[in-house]
């Protein structure tokens, strides 16, 4: 997975901020076509082949941000402002969630192992001895790999004492847990929608930014501008994503134009109650393990790739779903906007029908900057009585869901927990094997993203930073005194 803070993320965030700034200044329609030139000025030293290609990429990023499906609706004769007019008129459908920019794709060659110059042609030759397919030969005192016979097992790389064998992967293909990414005849990336589970790992791993998510932010921005009543429901992972504590983040949301804020942890508590009851019952009846159901990418994985697990999933709805109905109960006329780190939630929300918009933290960050809201300058808002669901803020971390469920068991009951911390190709195979040989646990907690939701595709701060800023309100408050916080988790 690509390091979160890189030139691409920064560029994307600048593009998003510019678009939103113009939108709230009512100049988007006239000025949107200037953004590529403003962000990529003539004097810039290009990182792609030339500034003109970089400008074209900014154009595509704007289109994706507006929610345009670039694969289908790319019309090079059309100006950005005509796309804007279309979007302001009517929201684009959410599915498919991702879209590819074929001209950004570098058409990386198939993954392979390569012997580099560091090979010293040693006497022991462990590569030769350990290759299961006999595809290593020596010429000019250096090892060579016969591509046609190599099965990409990586043994030679593991055993080389000089680290002379390198693996050159195709980042998007490697990241996809379900092999949904293929190259077309021209070598450009293509996503197989029948297989895709919307986890967003490919978009996070492409160093050229060729796979992008289609944003749904314009719908929310329109609601804000029209001053409709909007309730933001914020995922537990939000703590640590912005420089301030939860109370300040809530206040910042209110300042941005949301009318009410509800923590999704509140709904998570309901999910936990339900799951605790269910897992106890299953245990008594001897039905074997049950998995959690809060990760939408996992839900899709089961539907599309591991069908037998459908009977093993908890029947509890996701915390988002419970919280959305809670919001509708409290404010019947409200529009509900879920704010989280997740892309797959967008599809889940579209199916639920009780949620009118989904934002990622990254999109929210652009919204804050565009609106000039500084989280750290906010006063603490009243979070209300959080006693009952405070522990559910741990839902954002791997192990957190299982811990909350265990807490809600009847006294005396005990369950064995197994954590699935991140789904990759190997994990999918392991899960498939559970059909024949069920895992010995009562509750299997599944998180598609390694480390939990705080490592999701829509985050602002990487997990190491987020974890430091989390941990109750004390760790998040003044960043200045961060090192002196007793009990702050490292």
């Amino acid at each position: 997975m690509l390091e979160l803070n890189n030139q691409y993320t920064m560029m994307k965030r600048q593009v998003h901020t510019q678009v939103l700034k113009q939108f709230f200044n009512d100049t988007l329609s006239e000025d949107v076509d200037k953004i590529p030139i403003q962000l990529i000025p003539k004097q810039r030293t290009p990182t792609r082949c030339c500034i003109y290609k970089e400008r074209a990429m900014v154009r595509y990023r704007i289109m994706a941000f507006l929610g345009v499906d670039i694969e289908k609706d790319d019309d090079e004769f059309k100006t950005l402002s005509s796309y804007v007019d279309e979007v302001l008129e009517e929201d684009k459908p959410i599915s498919p969630l991702l879209t590819t920019i074929s001209t950004a794709c570098s058409s990386c060659p198939p993954d392979r192992y390569l012997v580099s110059d560091a090979c010293r042609g040693c006497f022991a030759r462990p590569c030769l001895a350990n290759c299961p397919k006999d595809c290593i030969s020596f010429s000019n005192g250096k090892a060579h790999i016969d591509e046609s016979r190599c099965v990409r097992c990586g043994k030679c790389m593991e055993v080389c004492p000089f680290h002379a064998v390198v693996h050159i992967p195709v980042p998007c293909e490697q990241a996809c847990p379900v092999d949904a990414i293929k190259k077309n005849e021209e070598g450009y990336v293509e996503i197989d929608w029948e297989k895709c589970i919307s986890c967003g790992k490919c978009a996070m791993s492409c160093p050229f930014g060729a796979i992008v998510e289609r944003s749904t932010i314009m719908g929310v921005a329109k609601m804000i501008k029209e001053e409709q009543h909007i309730t933001a429901i914020i995922a537990p992972a939000i703590e640590g994503q912005f420089p301030g504590n939860l109370a300040q983040i809530k206040q910042a949301l209110l300042a941005t134009g949301f009318n009410a804020v509800i923590e999704v942890s509140e709904g998570a508590s309901e999910t936990c109650d339900h799951e605790a009851q269910e897992v106890t019952q299953r245990k008594q009846e001897g039905l074997g393990f049950m998995t959690t159901s809060c990760c939408p990418a996992y839900m899709k994985l089961v539907d599309k790739h591991v069908p037998y697990l459908a009977g093993r999933r908890s029947s509890a709805l996701s915390p988002m779903a419970y919280t959305a109905s809670l919001a509708k109960e409290r404010y019947p006329q409200t529009k509900v906007v879920f704010i989280g780190p997740c892309l797959a939630k967008k599809e889940e929300a579209a199916h639920l029908g009780t949620i009118e918009g989904v934002l990622t933290f990254s999109e929210l960050a652009s919204l804050f900057v565009a609106k000039g809201v500084d989280v750290r300058e906010m006063s603490d808002s009243d979070l209300g009585d959080t006693m009952l669901f405070e522990d559910c803020r741990q839902f954002a971390l791997s192990g957190g869901v299982a811990a909350c469920v265990s807490k809600r068991l009847t006294v005396g009951d005990e369950i064995a927990v197994h954590k699935v911390d991140g789904i990759d190709k190997k994990m999918v195979r392991v899960m498939k094997s559970w059909e024949r040989r069920p895992i010995e646990a009562d509750l299997v907690e599944v998180m598609c993203c390694e480390g939990g939701c705080i490592n999701g595709p829509g985050v602002v701060a990487k997990p190491s930073v987020a974890i430091r800023l989390r941990g109750g309100n004390k760790a998040a408050s003044p960043v200045a005194s961060m090192r002196s916080i007793p009990g702050a988790k490292e």
Partner: protein, 88 residues
């Protein structure tokens, strides 16, 4: 030669800086050289105004070392700058 007084370092954690990569600078305990770390007073502070100053001609994230503001800060740049100041 190591200077006598501690270097004052302020990392801007205004939202604009934080989301443009400033968040990573808060891991200074992990990436700075221990000698440099011992000679600096580092803190995260509210917006230091770099983004509002047009004369700087640079972009977030900003940090302030003593009285000077530096933009487009990265972990590597911060390491280099601070060890220069500390060892000056």
């Amino acid at each position: 030669m190591i200077r006598k007084t501690k270097v004052s370092v302020k990392i801007c954690v205004g939202t604009a800086c934080f989301v443009q990569g400033g968040a990573d600078l808060l891991l200074y305990q992990d990436f700075l050289d221990p000698v440099v770390l011992a000679n600096c007073d580092i803190e995260g502070v509210s917006c230091i105004g770099g983004c509002k100053d047009d004369t700087l001609k640079t972009r977030p994230p900003y940090i302030q070392i003593d009285d000077k503001i530096y933009g487009e800060m990265t972990q590597d740049k911060m390491c280099a700058l601070l060890s220069e100041v500390v060892h000056a």
